[in-house]
């Protein structure tokens, strides 16, 4: 059977096109499913739109601005210079002017101006201030779910306005009045209940890990453990649950296990904290983010581990690197000789530097690889102990296990990296048009490097990026299995057994 034709056109990759022609309202119809009352209530929000929602929304906005000086500055300081207009992948892929970051954020800014600035209160028509109306709420719901909170626009903003914070605030206000997004909020509920985004219960997790042990032994002849809930292990691995379920994610998990095995590290996964992702970030909900993060602390204490290591997940690393200590700290019970937390790339990189791993890069000679910097790793965190480590460490790891590595164009990687198109809580089938179109800039860069260097594989360190690329690559004439986990490359090159 053939899949039905999509009801939209995939953008054509044109290497000469820098900015698309404006297409007003091009994605006006795109909006995610609204969460049902039981989902909303399960994570502490009203089930449906509350009666006096306009008042509640305006009050919430005031509360957020009062609490976060940053947010207030972001709302006050935009001078409409236009530097951000052509930096958003959703604008570049759709031409919809509401996806220019300045225009999208102005959907909220105009309401802020109306209620919280002097000119907006008295001369709203003069300063583009607007009442909080149903029409405004609908526009928020559409366009704040067309921002993946990737913060590429912020890199180019001369005032350093963090537009992701504005999107998060808008989503939090919408949740507070009872209009939440099904995808994110259902998932957060599952983490609270079952410990992970998938809703994977402990027996299923145990069965999956057991199966992986069998597979790896069958393939390599070496017995590599995938330990679950082992008390007294040194390392707690917290990884996205997609690593237990999807492809190519699971090959990355096999890679981590091989690294731990070969380094002789005792490690474990926890069924209580069987998820690195923290969608509380995407909806701007501190309470939910903290509740999700606390599971990791509880698991670390319960299992008595000495270190916490995060697997390949982009926003999880942002939450872990930047917020874990304030959300769930202090972590003074862990071994102070190691960073809290550590990224699996840092662990592998360190072991490689110390010569603790025997690697045969020829194992990956069938591949010519490029690397996709995930937005939350690139622009909201770091790895290693030097500035830019989040860019150099993954590349050094890949180059140690692949003989053919090439970067994509400089203005599409590093801190200028393009979002995969599915980040920030938008990786859902009801937004597939947005995801395909928003992937255009990344696909453009990938296609360029493919033509120039014969690239065969796109390596990633984020579960969302991996799933998103599996989905969108075929729309652009590539194969879904061209995306690989960085630790799959590592695992395939790693020589198991006793060092010679």
């Amino acid at each position: 059977m053939a899949a039905k034709k999509p009801e939209f056109e995939t953008p054509v990759i044109d290497h000469d096109q820098l900015v698309p022609a404006l297409a007003r309202g091009a994605l006006q119809h795109s909006q995610p499913f609204v969460a049902k009352p039981e989902i909303q209530e399960g994570i502490g929000f009203p089930g449906e739109l509350v009666d006096n929602w306009q008042r509640v929304a305006v009050d919430k906005l005031g509360e957020l601005v009062g609490k976060s000086r940053g947010l207030q500055v972001y709302l006050d300081s935009c001078v409409k210079c236009g530097a951000c207009t052509d930096k958003c992948h959703y604008f570049l892929g759709t031409g919809d002017p509401n996806n220019m970051p300045v225009a999208r954020q102005d959907l909220l800014r105009k309401v802020y101006r109306r209620y919280y600035t002097l000119p907006g209160k008295y001369l709203p028509w003069l300063v583009g201030a607007q009442d909080m109306t149903e029409e405004v709420l609908d526009e928020w719901y559409r366009y704040f779910h067309q921002c993946s909170q990737c913060r590429r626009c912020s890199v180019y903003c001369p005032y350093g306005i963090d537009t992701a914070e504005v999107s998060m605030a808008a989503r939090e206000i919408m949740d507070t009045v009872g209009k939440g997004q099904k995808y994110c909020n259902e998932i957060i509920g599952k983490v609270h209940k079952l410990g992970n985004n998938l809703g994977l219960p402990e027996p299923a997790l145990a069965d999956t890990l057991e199966g992986l042990e069998e597979d790896v032994e069958e393939e390599t002849g070496v017995s590599v453990a995938f330990p679950l809930d082992v008390k007294g292990a040194d390392v707690l691995l917290v990884t996205p649950s997609a690593d237990f379920f999807a492809e190519p994610h699971i090959d990355g998990l096999i890679g981590y296990a091989k690294v731990f095995h070969q380094a002789g590290l005792s490690w474990t996964i926890s069924s209580h904290a069987s998820e690195a992702a923290n969608f509380g970030l995407f909806i701007g909900s501190y309470d939910n983010m903290q509740k999700v993060a606390l599971r990791i602390r509880e698991a670390a204490l319960e299992l008595g581990v000495k270190r916490i290591v995060f697997g390949e997940c982009g926003h999880a690393w942002r939450v872990a690197y930047s917020f874990l200590n304030t959300l769930a700290g202090p972590f003074d019970f862990l071994d102070p000789r190691y960073p809290v937390p550590q990224h699996i790339i840092e662990v592998t990189h360190d072991l490689m530097k110390r010569g603790a791993l025997t690697l045969d890069a020829e194992a990956n000679d069938d591949k010519r690889v490029t690397f996709h910097d995930s937005c939350n790793v690139a622009r909201a965190s770091r790895m290693g102990n030097h500035a830019g480590g989040q860019f150099s460490l993954p590349r050094e790891v890949i180059s140690s296990v692949c003989n053919h590595y090439y970067d994509m164009p400089a203005n599409t990687i590093g801190e200028a990296t393009f979002c995969c198109g599915g980040g920030g809580g938008l990786l859902t089938d009801d937004l597939v048009e947005l995801r395909v179109k928003g992937a255009m800039p990344r696909m453009q860069a990938f296609s360029e490097v493919t033509e120039r260097h014969g690239i065969t594989h796109l390596a990633a360190i984020c579960a969302i990026c991996k799933s998103q690329f599996s989905k969108v690559l075929p729309y652009y004439g590539f194969e879904m299995d061209q995306v690989v986990s960085v630790h799959q490359l590592v695992g395939d090159a790693l020589q198991l057994g006793s060092p010679e």
Binding site: D207, T208, A242, F245, A246, A277, M480, D481
Partner: protein, 110 residues
């Protein structure tokens, strides 16, 4: 929303997944497949049956890898890969086959 199966209207969610697991009967898969312009072969049914068995034991759909391994054992090694499963279920074996099997949609970064 709902679908008509053997004269009964069964409730589904926005994406066409059954609202209640207990509503499932084999005819449900056929009706859902028809909506997608798909004709169910015996091999499609191997996948659906395995998903239901696994779900009964673990209350979740199996990992794609677990599914491919099981299908490889049943239908031959050349079919035990995700490429073949995507031929059967182009919307993704996890999602589309789960739907036909009456199971909830896998959520998360998948």
């Amino acid at each position: 929303m709902g679908i008509e199966v053997n004269g009964k209207t069964l409730e589904t969610d926005e994406e066409g997944y059954l609202a209640s697991l207990s509503d499932w009967e084999p005819a449900v898969a056929g009706v859902m497949a028809e909506i997608d312009d798909c004709e169910l072969s015996e091999n499609h049914w191997e996948v659906i049956n395995f998903l239901r068995e696994y779900y009964e034991e673990y209350q979740i759909a199996p990992a794609v890898r677990v599914l491919t391994k099981a299908i490889g054992k049943k239908l031959g090694k050349d079919k035990g890969n995700s490429k073949y499963l995507y031929e059967l279920y182009p919307y993704g074996p996890a999602k589309q086959a789960c739907k036909y099997a009456g199971l909830p949609k896998p959520t998360g970064c998948v």
